[in-house]
Every structure is written in C-alpha cells, then in structure tokens.
Amino acid sequence: MSDLDIFRLETRAWLEANCPAEMREPMRDESDACWGGRGAVFKNEAQKRWMDVMAERGWTVPDWPKDYGGGGLSPAETKILRQEMARIGARNPLMSFGISMLGPALLKYGREEQKKRFLPEIARGEIRWCQGYSEPNAGSDLASLQTKCEEAHDEEWGDHWLVNGQKVWTSYADKADWIFCLVRTDFQAPKHKGISFLLFDMATPGVSTRPILLISGNSPFCETFFDDVKVPKDQVVGEVNKGWDVAKYLLGHEREMISGMGLGGQTGSLGEALVESLGRDESGRLADPVLRADIARFDVDAMAFRAMSERFIDELKVGMAHPAQPSMMKYAGTELNKARHELVMAAGGSGALEWESDRSRKGKSAREWLRTKANSIEGGTSEVQLGIIAKRILDLPGA
C-alpha cells in the first residue's frame, strides 16, 4: 500500500470519528456557513466543534505550512483530504476571505513577522477579514482607486499612515474584524505604481460601514468609509507603492474562489434535483421536454466544468497553470452558476416567485437567483476576464 493510500485510510477514519453528523448535511442557505471571527456566531455546537477540530489539525488550511497554522500537506494529500470530505458530504469548516484571498498573498508577499502574526489566527478562524478593493469610481478600472494614504506623525501614534476615502461592495464589512485594503500612496505616479496594500483593524476610530440593500433583499455588501484612520507603519504588505502586484496576485485567488461557486457546492445533477418540482411524463422523463433539454445541456456543462476545476487545481499545485487561467475559471464558473439559477427559476415556476413564505423558505430560490447575478460582476466582470484571456493567453493586440 502506498503512503497516499495509507493517508487516505487514516484521513477517512479521522473524518468519520471527528466530523459531526450535522456537519455532513448539505448547507441549506448562507446562514449555515461558518465564518469565525471575534464576534463569531455559531449556529450550533457542532459547527464550532467542527471548525475547532479541523483548525487544531491545521486542516482549515491543509496545504499551508505547519509553522503558520496549516496542515503541511502535499498537493496530493490535500486532494485526498478534499475527496474524503466530499465523500461524506462534510461541510467546509471555515469560510474565510483570510483563507481564500489574504492568506495566499501573505504567504507570497508578507514579511516573516506578518506571516507569524496573521496566518495562524486566520487558520483558527479567530479574525474575520474583509476586502477593500472597489471604490465608487474604481470598479472594472480598479487601478484608478483614490483612497488616500499618507504618512503622518503625532504623539500618540508616532509615525503612522493616515487613511481617508471610501470603498464600496465590501463583502461583510459590517461583520469583519480586519480589512485588507488597497490605498493610494503616490498620486503623482502612473496609476498602477502608486498603490499600496494595507492591513488594519476595522475597530480603528474613523472606520464606518453601511450595508447596501441589494435586489435579493439581502445586504452582503457594504459601503465602507475611512475618515482620518490611523494605521501603524508596519501593516503594509509588500513594498510601498508596489501593492498592485499583491492585489493582482490576490485577485487570482479571489477568482478561483468565485469560480468554485459554479459548482454550487453540489456534485449531483441539476436535472435530478428538479424532478420534484417539474414532475415526469409517462416515459419517466421530465415533464417539460424543452426545459429538460436545456437542463441536460447544463448538466453536461457543469460536469465538464467540474473536470476543468479538478484539472486547474492539479495544474496550479505543480505550477503548470497559465497565470491568467483563473480569469478563465472565474468567467466560466460564474456564467455557469447564473445559468443554473435561471433553470432553477424556470423549473420552479410561480412557486419560485414567492418571496417571504415559509413554503419557499423565505424566497430562497428567488433570492439566490438574484444573488448569482453579482457573480459575473464581483472580482472583475466577465467582460474584464474575457479581455484578460484575450490579451494574456491568446496574445491578441491591445486596442
């Protein structure tokens, strides 16, 4: 038996023994996700226990080095862990922008003391992070951001940064403990060359947030305001004015994360899931033949994309993926997710229109459908991704 086979058996046994039964049930909605943080709200005891036992083993971030709270697993071992978790339907123990976005950037660009300080508490789910990127006038053209960060000095803080400006579409800013934020430290330089990557505590005086009510009726995003926010000098990641490199690297990871949404966290077929609402004809097929054909094509696309995700992750781990491939994954994954929810709405018919009833679980289908429309906007629109693929992968000329 190979080492990997042994690892698989041990992992399977450990998961069987340690993953609570409640954490093997499919997530019903976003409130089932565990985000950790200083003010963590756990839905039940099992959710907390699952996060804690996984964190203790370093398996909230299985492929990070052990020194920073990770599991120190190889790519092959990480893949096995994920397969074994999927086998029993184990939920993600910890949803975290710290894990999916900031962590990889810190591992690559952070100074040793920054890694030691921030990574273990990310791995343990102790600090919840949010991302300060977009601004009212810097959306697709992110590098034109204007949040001002200047050097300042006073008696209480000594030398420090002084931040003024506004961010928008800051996911869960009202629930986050810290922010990783793009700020402009040089207003004279070309736009990509005057940006720095700054970390600071959301409890700092001068930070305020305002949730934005979306078409889904929910408010996952905020406007975030900085009014003379003072930040210690050592909280810049990478070099001052070179934050765009960190930002781009992190965007790659963000796109990977969003592309994963195309799988909808589900491994089954959509058609199978929609039998109940659509019903069958005499031959046992879905009752609406045209919709059935669309759903079947979707299932082909979804299963093919799942294979693509697997290949992408395999290639990424050994450095074989094209650096712009996350743009392709983000584009394809989010368009797929939107298509999925269009089909769910079509299959649900008027039942899926209900917005508040318990029958509709408070409009779950409709709200999720609306939520997915943001997938191809956030983290860089589909059009931005297509432009990146065209220029960086296909090497087409710039306009």
Binding site: A76, K79, S269, G271, E272, L274, V275, R280, R285, L286, R292, A293, I295, A296, R297, D299, V300, D301, M303, A304, F305, A307, M308, E310, R311, F312, D314, E315, V318, M320, M328, Y331, A332, E383, Q385, L386, G387, I389, A390, K391, I393, L394, D395, L396, P397, G398, A399
Partner: protein, 371 residues
C-alpha cells in the same frame, strides 16, 4: 490521478505532435488523398508509420505485442490527429475495434495486423442517419453452425477499406457482436464519400452466413460490450474534436493578428477578442472533460459512462463553436477551398455525428441521471 500529463505522456504527445504536423499535415494527407480521389480516403504509408512507432498497439497488452497503455494515451494521439485532420484508421481500428476484440479469440487473429499496420478494421453500428445503438434491428438468425446476418448498416467509417468489420446485430438472445471478414458472401459494400472527404460505407448484409466463432463475446451479451466499445470510440472522438477545435482556434487567432481593416488589426476589436476568449474557455473545459472520461475508462470506474457522455457532448459543442467562429472570423477567405479552415468545419460535422452527437449524449446523460 492528476488531470495533467505525466512526463511519459508528454513525451508521447511531443512525438505524436511532431509526426502529425509533418507527415500527417492537411496538405500531406487530407488534401493529397482527396485530390487523387483515393478510394480509401487515407494513406496506408502513414498507417504503417503509426504502427512502427507502436501507436496502433497503445491499447493492446504488452504480452500481445502492444504498448499496454490506456485511453488517455490514445486520446493524446487523437488530439494530434484532430489538429491536422489526418485521415487515419486509428480511432476505429486501434481504439474501438481493439476494445471490441480484446480478451477474445479474435485478438490473436487480428491484432498482429493492426500492430503491423497491415490491417484496417471497421465498426458497423448505425442503421439510420442518426446514431441509435439501442434500436439495432439487423437480424442474426441461427443457421447451420452459426448465424445468418440480414440488414443494412451505414456510416461505417473505413468500411470500404476494412479487412474485418465488427457488426452489431440482434439475435433471439439479444444484441450480439460479430467479426465479419470483408470477403464474406452476401455482403455488399458501397463506399461513399462524405463531406469531410472521408470514405464511409453503406453495408448491405443479404443473409451473410458466419460461423459461431465469428461471435465476439457471448451470444446475446453484446449490449454491454457494444457500450464499452462505443465509449472507447466516443472518448477518442472527443479528444480528436478537442484537437480539431484547438487547431481551428489557433488558425483563427493567428489570422486576427495579421488581418488589418479600418487601419488596424482586427484582433484589436473587443467584439472579436471576447468571442475568441470565450472559445478558448470552452475548449479548455472540453479538453478537461475528455481527459477525465479517459482516466475513468482506464480505471474501470462505474462513473466512466456518464463522463464519456459529457466529454462527447461538450467536445462536440466546443469544436463546432471553434469552426463556426473560425470561418466567420476569417471572412470571405474562410469560404475558399484553398484555405484550410473550411476543411475543419467539414470534419467537425462528421466527428459530431460519429458515435452520437451532442444532443444524443446530453439526452443519454439525463436518462442515466434518472430524468
């Protein structure tokens, strides 16, 4: 298994890529045999060359003189064949028919010729214009020491050139596969040139008598075997279409970087950039599906059949998108016979029909998933 090529597989790809680009090129093979109105529609010399390199034995066990490799490796060769539209018996003879005869007494009879490149084999399944293997009607009646075969087959690729034809017929016991030699009495073969310049055949079995040893596997046990044979062919065809689509995209993207209109390269236009980028994305996804299906086939996984449906359906759609965008983005020149892009469009159409099109496989997947 990771979903990227191992070192050995990458070497195989490099060898196949070089060979197909040189010897198997559109000018060197497809156009040459088309323009000389060749009755086979492919070159025997290249088939021999593939044999000498061991390619025709990729799926044949080492003990029987083959390379003992798998569907992933066959797919690697087929992707290169697809890139160059190389007319070749590889997919049918070295993949589908080898899968059919593997482990049966027929292997000893036919594998040496396939390994040496002297034998061409064909597979006769379709009876109407669409692929419906579930509805095979050709009769196999018990007669003397064997069976009498009656019925018609069509779209038998390389059927007019084949030394042996694997035929699916229905006996009282159920679907049964037979290995029928080309000289069989009562077998009428009509070679027909298809849109892609390949030669398909219509076969008319007018009470063809075969011995019982012509049966492949069990009498009445042909359904599972046929399904396995077809899946091998479908996964291979998916790779061929991925190769075809990738080459069509490559030609098109190159053209976008050369052609000027309105005083600039047309590749600068965002409308074309986005369509090209979308196409890239679809082809990458199709390639992943094909490799995944082949890995599952090689593992003997119960999930392989569904993934083969996905691979054939997805690769078919991606490849069709590639040739349609290819011809459109080439503009007028894409409509000329002199330019290759139109040849890609023709081959794509034929490969889509082969072993069931994208609609067939989407529907089959839905049935397998219980809806």
């Amino acid at each position: 298994m990771p979903l990227y090529l191992t070192e050995d597989q990458a070497m195989l790809r490099d060898t196949a890529r070089q060979l197909m680009a040189d010897e198997g090129s559109v000018a060197g093979q497809l156009r040459k045999y088309r323009d000389m109105d060749c009755k086979d529609g492919f070159g025997h010399a290249l088939w021999k060359q593939l044999a000498e390199l061991g390619f025709t034995g990729i799926l044949i066990d080492e003990a029987e003189g083959g390379l003992g490799l798998g569907h992933v490796e066959a797919g690697i060769v087929l992707e290169e064949i697809g890139r160059n539209l190389t007319p070749s018996p590889f997919l049918i003879s070295a993949v589908a028919v080898v899968e059919a005869l593997k482990g049966t007494p027929h292997a000893a009879r036919w594998f040496p010729g396939i390994l040496s490149g002297d034998t061409v084999a064909a597979l006769a399944v379709d009876e109407g214009p669409k692929h419906r293997p579930e509805a095979i009607a050709m009769r196999a009646e018990r007669a003397g020491n064997g069976f009498r075969l009656t019925g018609r087959k069509q779209f038998v690729v390389q059927g007019a050139s084949a030394d042996v034809i694997v035929v699916a017929a229905r006996s009282d016991e159920g679907v049964t596969l037979f290995a029928v030699e080309k000289e069989a009495k009562g077998l009428d073969v009509e070679g027909v040139r298809l849109v892609d310049s390949s030669i398909g055949a219509r076969l008319d079995f007018q009470g063809v008598e075969v011995n019982s040893d012509a049966v492949i596997g069990e009498v009445g046990g042909g359904e599972a075997l046929l399904s396995r044979v077809l899946d091998a062919g479908r996964a291979g065809a998916a790779s061929e279409m991925v190769g075809l689509g990738s080459a069509a995209m490559g030609m098109t993207v190159d053209y976008l970087k050369q052609r000027k209109q309105f005083g600039r390269l047309i590749g600068e236009f965002q409308t074309l950039q986005h369509r090209a980028a979308h196409l890239y994305s679809e082809l990458e996804i199709a390639r992943s599906a094909a490799i995944k299906a082949q890995q599952l086939l090689d593992e003997g996984s119960p999930e392989a059949e569904a993934m083969v449906c996905v691979a054939k359906a997805k690769a078919g759609r991606a490849s069709t998108l590639a040739v349609q965008e290819g011809v459109q983005m080439h503009g007028g020149i894409g409509m000329t016979d002199e330019y290759d892009i139109g040849l890609y469009m023709k081959r794509d159409r034929a490969l889509n029909e082969l072993f069931g099109d994208s609609n067939y496989h989407s529907d089959k997947l839905a049935r397998m998933k219980g809806y």
